[in-house]
Symmetry: C2
DNA sequence: CTGAAAGCGCTAACAC
DNA sequence: GTGTTAGCGCTTTCAG
């Protein structure tokens, strides 16, 4: 007990001044230093098991050595993987990582942004909610914190993302080649950039083949919304495939198909987007598009570390699965 | 740009001293304060959009207002849910939450514990790896940080856990009632307390019916280990059910069963433990035992906030699923 | 090559 | 009621 040792105590034990200890700690002037002095200091540090207090250091250096990850829901595996990518790079660089969960609420997100300002975080890897508080974002970033947006677009902020249009086009062509023509689309929430991009890329690619979606509904990127939208669609239309803008909704659609007595893929093809980590555990295997989310996290963290901040686009990959397996001729 | 405003600037603008601003900020002596003074200060704070610097405050108050979550893999939905529970309680109480991912490595975990020491976190919600660095843990907790272990046992530390024995017994009885008798068990890693508890609870309950497991293998709580152990078992034995110590391994076992040409549940029953959030998306539905992990996170955080630190055990719940659906008479 | 001194922004005694 | 002062633990000029 009795509090951790301070630099003063280390100095006293080593018989030097605090400044000398500090120099050793920070590797300054190491070349112009008597090896013995250094040894003594190191020994004292070891002996007392001394660790410099970050708060004091931050205060003095005017930098916190802290990053943050701010996402709508950390329990969503997609976001959790992002956090992991960030944490791993940040930790290696000696940064601590704060976690923020906005719970899809603008208000909570704003409060988090303010907290991060108080914390003087040096950088934030950020997945904003649909209509973020631009003012809070501006305040934070004009405080000197770097902000990198991931998998979304926010005007004026650098982004790490993927080519959603291209990914959707890949998926569309895959389905067309398999013979699907009556395709229903469950889009993401309106006002979210990825939702638009995925929808547009998909519709355009279909258009190139002279095909149009049977219908387009907007869901909320959740399992439940995928389920209810699909239910809705299947009661009204007779598509031969349902494509959802993410995996969670696609799986919801699978449940709906099952309840409607449709067999996947025999009666209905289903596809998603993201390739969430457990996508491959779903049976039948989901057809999806891989988004390298963990990599996006580490790239974003790297951008925070480098001075070079600029947008970055990573490639996506089509993952064919059993849920869209129809032969061109039908069966 | 040009740096954030300080308490001095607020004081100057309000025409008062910094202490007065501080008093307003902290709600001290609010009653013995001229309402006008308070108004002026509040106005100045508003005007400058001032936020007190946490590092300075921490240094002076000798408390960081920071908690941490340290887990083996934040991208594991089980741990991510835990983090969410912690974050939500901590945030409400004005605490920031650091995230640490030990990547199942003792070395990384140790380094994280040191970093948390430097950070002077006030509390840690901790899921340790199999053979943790007890020394690092002791150093941290004797620095004054409260440490609550979740879902594991570490001698001398308070725990938030569940009754794994009872849960396993529940599961065993469910299977026995359904008529399963030749049950293979895939346990968790040796040296992990939950693994032992689950195994023992299961074996004991079987014993009560005069039944013993066909065999017991130890896996690593991962999908891959579940797959390979099950493969192994199915090549040698002819169990009518495979029970895994967690869902991830159970799902691995499902894949193995499939590859061996066994139909679930007709030829082979399969059960897990944890009820990970996407367990219900798996088809056929997994039989499992629910562990309220998010709740465990919020309870742990609450323990950090309250002065009362002591172990806590939350109840588990059996979730019957289609993977163990055999009738008593067989089919 | 090393020490002394000042100060980062804030809070808490202690004055008045 | 409010201001003055000292100091949390550290880094960094500036002397020597």
């Amino acid at each position: 007990m009795g509090g951790q040792p301070t630099i003063k105590q280390v100095a006293a034990l080593a018989g030097v001044s605090p400044s000398t200890v500090s120099r050793v700690l920070n590797g300054k002037d190491e070349e112009h230093m008597t090896p013995e002095t250094k040894e003594k200091v190191l020994a004292a540090i070891e002996k007392l098991d001394y660790t410099p207090l970050r708060a004091a250091r931050s205060l003095r250096r005017q930098r916190s050595q802290v990053f943050a990850v701010l996402v709508p829901d950390i329990s969503n595996p997609f976001f959790a993987l992002l956090a992991r990518g960030v944490e791993s790079v940040a930790f290696r660089a000696g940064y601590a990582v704060l976690i923020g969960d906005s719970n899809h609420s603008v208000a909570r997100e704003s409060r988090h942004l303010s907290l991060l300002l108080a914390e003087r975080v040096e950088g934030v890897v950020f997945i904003p909610v649909a209509q973020p508080d631009m003012d809070a974002i501006r305040r934070l970033s004009s405080s000197g914190a770097r902000v990198v947006v991931v998998d979304r677009q926010v005007p004026g902020l650098p982004t790490v993302g993927v080519d959603n249009r291209a990914g959707s086009a890949l998926l569309a062509e895959h389905l067309l080649k398999l013979g699907y023509r009556a395709i229903a689309y469950i889009a993401g929430p309106e006002g979210v950039s990825t939702a638009h991009e995925r929808l547009e890329g998909f519709a355009e690619a279909l258009g190139g083949w002279g095909v149009a979606p049977v219908c387009v509904h907007h869901g909320g990127y959740t399992y439940e919304s995928g389920y209810s939208k699909a239910k809705n669609i299947l009661e009204r239309e007779r598509p031969d495939a349902v494509v959802a803008a993410n995996d969670l909704m696609a799986i919801g659609a699978m449940t709906a198909a099952e309840e409607c007595g449709l067999r996947v893929p025999d009666d209905l093809g289903i596809a998603g987007f993201d390739r969430v980590p457990w996508a491959e555990l779903i049976r039948p295997w989901l057809t999806t598009v891989e988004v390298p989310i963990s990599r996006m996290g580490s790239e974003a963290a790297q951008m925070l570390l480098d001075s070079s901040i600029g947008s970055l686009q990573l490639p996506v990959k089509l993952i064919p699965g059993e849920t869209c397996a129809r032969k061109r001729e039908g069966r």
